[in-house]
Amino acid sequence: MANNGSLICRDIRRAYQTDADLVWALWDVDVEARPGEITVLAGPSGSGKSTLLRVMAGIDRPDQGSVEIAGSDIFAMNARQRRKWRKKHIGFVFQDPAANLLGYMTVVDHLKLAARVRHASLDMSILEHLEIPELAGEVPSHLSAGQQQRVALAAAVTGGPDVVLADEPTAELDTQSARLAVEALTRLRDLGTTLVVTSHDPEVVDIANRVVRIEHGMVKK
């Protein structure tokens, strides 16, 4: 499950066109994340954290700059190649727990799906690492928000993607669930996963190996 993928963003700029003018969501952003580390993108709402995360995932194209993961520049690829590349090399966790799971699939189905798309074998031990082995046969509606988020993290790392990107993984959770999710992130780091997390949760920031503060679309030095 461990990997050796590192993520390097260089000179990322991303603008949005509004009625009035062009708004720069990101301006010359440089970020580096390494395997076995948690990199936290911190900053107030609207600072550009989520935009940067989507750019890192290859979901959103930057106007300028490059994103290199495990030595591959993902924006040198066309959309189809990038999609294929993304499914094998990137795990993504959305802020809303319900957005990470399909209601008609059990927990083990999600893990199988992740393993299949990444052409990997199913490893159920991840559930034990995240202390949720008893949930294997459950459907999402039977899980609490915290359990859902941990299952999402489990699915995100299944198949050994180079990088796992998590968008505010504790924002929707109560204190207890958030603590369990933070523990899960720590365990994944210990497994050698490259983790990039957006958050302004102090508990998440506390476990970070690296904190990148973003304000007004720029990295605060």
Partner: protein, 871 residues
């Protein structure tokens, strides 16, 4: 990836989401109905036209007749073989008719009377036996039996070519004189008809065709050609449920049979049948109808496909999170579109089948005829299949496109709707150009001059007018946004409603267009259908003067109930009035108003004024007259009327556009009946060359005939207004608008569906604003009122736009939609005001229901979750 649960389970996933499932099935059912209705309607209308053509025709004339009765058994076999493969044909029937014979009772009782022998297959199944039993002998009718003083077992003597013959009476049957419209006996109408003086024709002595052996002496004598005997082979057709393709096949079978028979018997006569003519006429109608309604159906079908595509868009909104998730796993827009297609497949097939079934039921119950050719049912099923396939493609495209924009998170810049004004100008200019292109007549007449159909441009005019009207009204509303904002100061509900309206110009256009489309179609189609129907009704009644016209022998007193609803007029045709050929109608001052078809639209002059004017001050010449000059481009002045050798001065009081009994391009002088008789009757009171006609309103032909017969008043025949005009000439016209009216109801369903879908997809934003507004002190009642103001005002505006967009082209076209222009009066306008009222009521109800549903959803929403998630 395709072998993972999101794809493997896709075909059954919608079944766990009732709201989406019902939406998809409902939308596809509407699509299926739209797709299936066109071929079904075409077949139904063709069948109705065929049945209309068959009405009043004897099945024997519709089937074939051939004169060839040599070797009956052999010919029967040949004809049977030639037609047996075609299910429309019944077994051939032989009819033999002998010449007139004089006969008497062998017992010397009774009278010596003339009669004729007739031999016909299966005749026993079609008579009412009065005396005796069925058997192989000869049957007398009751009139002959009474005159001959004969009954079963008696011997009747007759002479043929100097030879004395006799036969024994087998049975007595009820005379067939009132059975001339019976499908079996109508063939003998000429033999059985009572003449105008009420005299019965010579009785028929009926014999089965197997009674006489071929070339037996009696047969040879009675039915010999040299002695005036005739023989026909009828090739009857089962007309019940006969469709046009069936009739076309039958015509082809008959042609083939004729060739076969001719090859076998070169001297046999050709098969005479109305079938080819009738089939050609009805085929012309089907072609005309197809030309008119297929473009229309295509437009509505595209709208229905759009609705299904909107359901696809709705699916994207409802499954946003799942699509996001799948995208993070590397599934692209194509994969998501494929997944949507898999999910939609079963519900759409079910919806399509449902729509097809409903369309079939609707056509059976409400169509021009319940008879639909099985081939057309199959075509309609294929059409539905094609439409479902097209819709799946539309769903794939819309889902793929939306997934792409949804997953890329690229905020789109707000599009400025710069297309509105150019499109408004283009559609208005297009409408004007189309109107100019249509010209003076919107009826296209086929080459054979038998069937008039609607110019397809007539269907584009409302489309362009509708587009222009919707854009114009929307533009005005959008330009009034500042004013609407100001109106928002009048209260919380008004504030919220005004802000919602001004925040979404596209919603304004969607709601106005959604409400206007069905209303415009309904008003347009309804007005033109009613105007055309009313015009045709008026033309028929004007042509004969009333509902029923009955030639009578003199100025009779209409008997029984006819007394209060009839008048007797005298019509003299093609006489000279100052060198111009005119008709003269002499009307009865006392009864004309109660028996003649009259509407104030006819003329600027009230009927009573006309009648008073005709009566004048004198009882004879000079005659005062009104002149109906429909279509006559000539100035008339007082002049001399010449009837037979009588020349009388006529004072023209005034000219009228038309009058009961008038013909286009034939001036009609209207005079007082008493004065006319005083001037033109001979010494014995006769008016040779003139006809007395009893005009009757509010009665059927049967009722009039019964009253006249009961009272013993002589008459020649009756004519009904409804059968006067060639129905087929305007059937395509009426049916096109009938079809449009049916489609307007479907368009209404599509529009309601589209609006509800749109409201539902915006529900989350609505819920959020409700949650926020509640925190700012807005009450539930005010929020509900705001919804009613917002949806209600725009919907009513849409209804208003629809009424305008429907009425303008209808008013433009009704005058030139005249399939029988040569018959007055000119087209009449019947505005479908009831449909307008219904539209307003439905719009109000839909607004209320949609708002209440939206309010209930907002009430049930989890406020804290909404506020946490935002939009």
């Amino acid at each position: 990836m395709l072998r993972t649960p999101p794809f493997l389970r896709a075909p059954i996933l919608l079944f766990s989401r009732p709201a989406v499932l019902v939406t998809v099935i409902g939308a596809t059912a509407i699509l299926g109905m739209v797709a299936a209705l066109t071929p079904l309607f075409l077949s139904s209308a063709s069948s109705a036209a065929l049945q209309q053509e068959l009405e009043g025709r004897c099945p024997a004339s519709f089937g074939g007749l051939t004169h060839n009765y040599d070797f009956p058994d052999v010919v029967r076999e040949e004809l049977t073989q030639a037609t047996a493969h075609d299910p429309a044909f019944l077994p051939p029937r032989l009819y033999l008719e002998g010449t007139l014979i004089t006969a008497s009772n062998a017992s010397s009782d009774g009278l010596t009377i003339p009669f004729r022998f007739a031999a016909r297959d299966e005749f026993r199944d079609h008579i009412e036996l009065l005396e005796g039993e069925h058997g192989p002998g000869a049957y007398l009718d009751d009139v002959a039996a009474e005159n001959l003083a004969a009954g079963p077992g008696d011997t009747i003597i007759f002479n043929v070519q100097g030879d004395r013959h006799e036969f024994t009476v087998q049975a007595v049957y009820r005379g067939l004189y009132d059975r001339t419209t019976d499908p079996y006996w109508c063939f003998l109408e000429g033999v059985l008809a009572i003449n105008v003086m009420g005299d019965l024709p010579p009785p028929l002595v009926l014999i089965d065709t197997d009674f006489f052996e071929f070339e037996s002496a009696l047969y040879g004598s009675v039915f010999s050609r040299s002695f005036g005997g005739t023989g026909d082979w009828e090739i009857p057709i089962d007309v019940d449920g006969l469709t046009v393709p069936g009739a076309e096949r039958a015509a082809a079978t008959m042609t083939a049979a004729e060739e076969t028979i001719h090859d076998l018997r070169p001297f046999s006569s050709a098969i005479q049948s109305d079938l080819p003519t009738v089939t050609a006429r009805v085929s012309s109608l089907a072609t005309a109808l197809r030309t008119s309604i297929i473009p229309l159906a295509a437009v509505v079908l595209l709208a229905a496909v759009g609705l299904v595509a909107a359901a696809g868009s709705y699916w994207v909104d409802r499954r946003k999170l799942e699509l996001q998730y799948l995208s993070s796993l590397g599934v692209g827009p194509g994969g998501i579109a494929f997944k949507a297609v898999l999910e939609f497949l079963i519900p759409m097939l079910a919806g399509g089948a449902l729509g097809w079934g409903v369309a079939n039921l609707a056509i059976s119950g409400l169509g021009p005829s319940p008879d639909v050719d099985p081939g057309f049912r199959l075509i309609s099923a294929w059409t539905v299949g094609g439409a479902v396939l097209l819709s799946l493609l539309a769903v794939a495209v819309i889902v793929g496109t939306r997934a792409k924009t949804l997953l890329d998170h690229k905020p789109r810049s707000r599009r400025k709707m710069t297309w509105r004004i150019p499109l408004l100008i283009a559609s208005a200019a297009g409408a004007v150009l189309v109107r100019i292109a249509i010209g003076d007549s919107a009826v296209v007449t086929e080459e054979n001059d038998l069937v008039g159909s609607v110019d397809p441009l007539v269907l584009f005019l409302p489309l362009l007018t509708f587009t222009a009207a919707v854009l114009l009204v929307s533009e005005i509303v959008i330009r009034l946004f500042p004013l609407i904002r100001k109106l928002g100061a009048k209260g919380h509900a008004a504030y919220l409603a005004s802000r919602r309206i001004v925040s979404a110009p596209s919603l304004v256009i969607v709601l106005i267009a959604g409400a206007a489309l069905p209303v415009a179609t309904l008003v347009y189609a309804g007005s033109l259908t009613r105007s055309a129907t009313s015009t045709i009704d008026a033309k028929g009644k004007t042509f004969i003067g009333a509902d029923i016209s009955t030639p009578v022998f003199g100025a009779i007193e209409p008997p029984g109930t006819l007394g209060d609803s009839s008048t007797v007029v005298i019509k003299t045709e093609r006489v000279d009035f100052d060198g111009t050929q005119v008709d003269v109608l002499a009307v009865d001052y006392d009864t004309f108003e109660q028996g003649a078809f009259w509407e104030e639209e006819y003329a600027e002059v009230p009927l009573q004024t006309i009648l008073d004017g005709l009566r004048g001050d004198s009882e004879g010449a000079p005659l005062d007259a009104y002149l109906a000059t429909s279509g006559v481009d000539q100035e008339f002045d007082d002049g001399e009327l010449l009837i037979r050798s009588e020349r009388v001065t006529v004072n023209i009081i005034d000219e009228l556009e038309t009058f009961p009994g008038s013909r286009r391009n034939r001036p009609l002088l209207i005079v007082d009946r008493d004065r006319f008789v005083n001037v033109f009757a001979d010494d014995e009171g006769r008016l040779s060359g003139s006809r007395y006609l009893m005009w009757t309103l509010d009665h059927t032909e049967d009722e009039v005939e019964l009253e006249m017969k009961t009272a013993g008043v002589g008459f020649a025949f009756t004519t009904a207004a409804s059968t006067t005009l060639d129905q087929l000439r305007f059937a395509a016209l009426i049916w096109t608008f009938d079809f449009l009216e049916i489609y307007s109801y479907l368009a209404g369903l599509i529009a309601i569906g589209a609006v509800l879908l749109y409201v539902d997809t915006r529900q989350r934003a609505r819920n959020l604003s409700y949650a926020l507004a509640r925190r700012m002190g807005l009450t539930r009642r005010e929020h509900l009122a705001a919804g009613l103001i917002e949806v209600g005002s725009l919907t009513l505006l849409g209804v208003f736009t629809g009424v305008i967009a429907g009425r303008i082209p209808a008013r433009q076209l009704y005058r030139i939609l005249d399939a029988v222009a040569e018959t007055p009066p000119p087209p009449r306008w019947v505005g479908a005001m009831d449909l307008v009222v219904i539209s307003v009521v439905v719009a109000v109800l839909v607004s209320i229901v949609a708002t209440i549903l939206a309010q209930r959803t907002a009430d049930g929403a989890d406020t804290s979750e909404l506020l946490r998630h935002g939009e």
